[in-house]
Amino acid sequence: MTTATAALGKDLVGLEPLSAEQIRLILDTAEPFKEVSERSIKKVPALRGKTIVNLFFEASTRTRISFEFAEKRLSADTVNVAASGSSVSKGETLVDTARNLEAMRIDMVVMRHGSSGAARFLGERIASNVINAGDGKHEHPTQGLLDMLTLRDHFGRLEGLKVAICGDVLHSRVARSNIWGLTKLGAEVGVCGPMTLMPRDVRELGVTVLPRIEDAIQWADALNILRLQLERMQAGFLPSLREYNRVFGVSNDRLSKAPKDLLIMHPGPMNRGVEIDSDVADGPHSVILPQVTNGVAVRMAVLYLLAGGTPALAQSAGRAEDK
């Protein structure tokens, strides 16, 4: 049991600190868990008796529900804490909140927080496992993992694949987790978006900068289209949503000029008609909903491995329930 814990470490704060082998282990462990969600009784006993707190300092629907499903399908006991209405809104510090939760003898914390580095900060100060469900502009590792699993499902491999991440790379934790995960597993990553939304020295992360969306469409096998936060207009990064759609929006018209069919991904929630047109989002090459399905499996794998499970046991757990 301890070998797998050691294999991932105590916490999952990002994909940057993980090795290719560790990332592959998570993706491989997710495979048997996909099947659990397809059964009529969607439950395995792997985390029975474990207590998990979902600590969300930022609003989230998709990620919080996905984690909660993953936890419940592994038979863990879960508690959801939202920042508003809790002691956090009364001025309690992050470390005090966490220590109080831990004093109630919990096993894991899944945290989303608006500050980069918050997950690592928490992991260094409590004994429970910490899983980063998004920290500021830093990382969103389970999103990166589910994107990779979806790409692997479709192409059968990640090595040599060309994935273009399009949009607001500067403020995106999804982009950073994708860049680390994909490059470690041998994929090529391109980043595309207005230069106002490109991080400084981003090339040093080993990515290709694609200045225009037409370049990305010519270059890539898959597009991962980021959500454009509407507050970027007020902050002066962009003139208008309309112009963003005209210059950087992914439309069928633009995709028709690609040398091959491109896989279309989006971490959600989408702004239809801004970064992605509806007929692309709902089109035949879109895997936006399979991404959501894979999210549950990947999160089950992460929870399971951090709790000390091994991939072999995950396989047998799945089969035993089948009988």
Partner: protein
């Protein structure tokens, strides 16, 4: 106050940067003044405290143009007495206190309070710096004349930039009446809003908002242009970028009245120190790239940068024990500055010890027109005895400051102060 007992410091290597002298000699201090420097001094009859300085360096006390002593307002993290003791322990005989206290030191009464508290502490001398604008709000000039009469040696809105170019212009012009410099924290807030560290590859990886070097350099350039326009004396605080160094170099070639300081953390560390979201590596301006650090070192060595200042900025443990975005800027520096300077600038062969002492004694005294920074006969008996050979390891628990926020814990340094004398009185002796 009765006159202190005369002190005879025997056999040390006496370095006086104000005269360019360096050699073994005795130093006699009488009545709070330097009485004599020479070989085999025999004091007149009477009680004399004799200190054997053989193998050690005797120099004018170090002078720091940039500290935050947090009194009034935040006495839990530092007060004038604890800050002045930390200064003495670091070899400083004089520190200048920035006015971003609570309330702001922006009037003669507040300046007088800082001065009186400094005198009562009887450690390092504390020279108040008055605010440029009332409440440091960047709008209306504070009363420079009355503050100078009460003891202010310069004006600054440090902690905040002077955003209005008009205000900076009038401050430089008005300060000429009183012969004081205007010290500016150079930052264009429209480029740095929300920034947590230097903008570069590390901020990109950590997902932290970056502070581009241009955010400093634009204001450095503006201040230099205004110094030329007004004939005023501008002192540029805590420069951190190679671009700023280049601007100062050109200003000095033109003969403008521009001086500049650099902090030990900026000539020692780079943005890599932020790795792991280390809040003790968070300061404004931020730690930058290796090329910036190297340019700062070179500029200190060649004199483009006039002086080393600490920007000593105490914060409570809890304040730094936070998410990186929410942690305050700044680190303490009084008790590590000299060791870092020796280790990083002299031991590396960039400059000699007398050149370093010039930057830390005579030069800052001249910039703010302070007594001290010299061992000429009749000068204040502000003297430090330095052990420049001993290696030591930084242990924040041993600091005399009330705060512990330093990125240098555990770092091995060479050189520190053994004994500090202010006005002929021993104010610190390493036990």
């Amino acid at each position: 106050m009765s006159s202190p007992k005369p002190i005879l410091i025997r056999g040390g290597r006496v370095i006086d940067p104000s005269r360019g002298t360096d050699g073994v000699a005795d130093v006699l201090l009488v009545g709070g003044r330097v009485e004599a420097v020479g070989l085999n001094i025999r004091p007149e009859e009477g009680e004399v405290e004799t200190i054997d300085a053989a193998g050690r360096v005797v120099a004018p006390g170090l002078i720091d143009l940039h500290t935050h002593l947090r009194e009034p307002g935040n006495e839990d993290v530092e007060n004038i007495a604890s800050g002045a003791l930390a200064a003495a322990a670091g070899g400083f005989t004089a520190v200048c206190a920035m006015p971003n206290t609570d309330p702001v030191t922006d009037n003669q009464a507040a300046v007088g309070f800082v001065k009186a508290r400094g005198e009562a502490a009887r450690r390092a001398r504390v020279y108040p710096i008055g605010a440029i604008s009332l409440g440091q709000k960047g709008q209306q000039l504070a009363e420079f004349g009355e503050m100078v009469a009460a003891g202010a040696v310069a004006v600054s809105d440090d902690g905040k930039p002077v955003v209005s170019s008009h205000l900076m212009r009038t401050a430089l012009e008005y300060a000429r009446t009183f012969g004081i410099p205007v010290a500016d924290h150079c930052e264009d807030p429209t480029l740095t809003a929300g920034a947590a560290m230097h903008e570069g590859i590390v901020s990109t990886r950590l997902g932290l908002k970056g502070y581009p070097s241009a955010g400093e350099e634009i204001m450095v350039a503006r201040d230099i242009i205004l110094a030329e326009l007004t004939g005023g004396q501008v002192h540029l605080c805590h420069l951190s970028s190679r671009g700023s160094v280049e601007l100062v170099r050109r200003a000095k070639e033109k003969g403008l009245r521009v001086t500049a300081e650099v902090c030990p953390h900026h000539f020692t560390l780079t943005h890599d120190a932020v790795e792991g979201y280390n809040t003790n590596a968070k300061m404004s301006p931020p730690l930058r790239e290796a090329a910036d650090r190297d340019a700062l070192r070179q500029a200190i060595a060649d004199g483009t940068i006039d002086t080393i200042a600490t920007d000593h900025a105490p914060h409570h443990y809890d304040a730094k024990e936070r998410e990186f975005d929410d942690a305050p800027n700044g680190i303490i520096g009084l008790e590590t500055a000299f060791g870092l300077a020796i280790t990083e600038l002299v031991e590396t062969g960039l400059m000699t010890l007398p050149e370093l002492l010039l930057r830390m004694t005579t030069a800052p005294a001249r910039i703010f027109n302070l007594p001290g920074g010299t061992l000429v006969t009749g000068a204040p008996a502000d003297v430090v005895i330095l052990d420049v050979g001993t290696e030591w390891v930084v242990d924040p628990r041993e600091f005399h400051s009330k705060s512990r926020n330093t990125p240098f814990a555990g770092r091995r340094l060479k050189g520190r102060a053994d004994l500090t004398i202010v006005g002929g009185e021993i104010v610190y002796r390493r036990s």
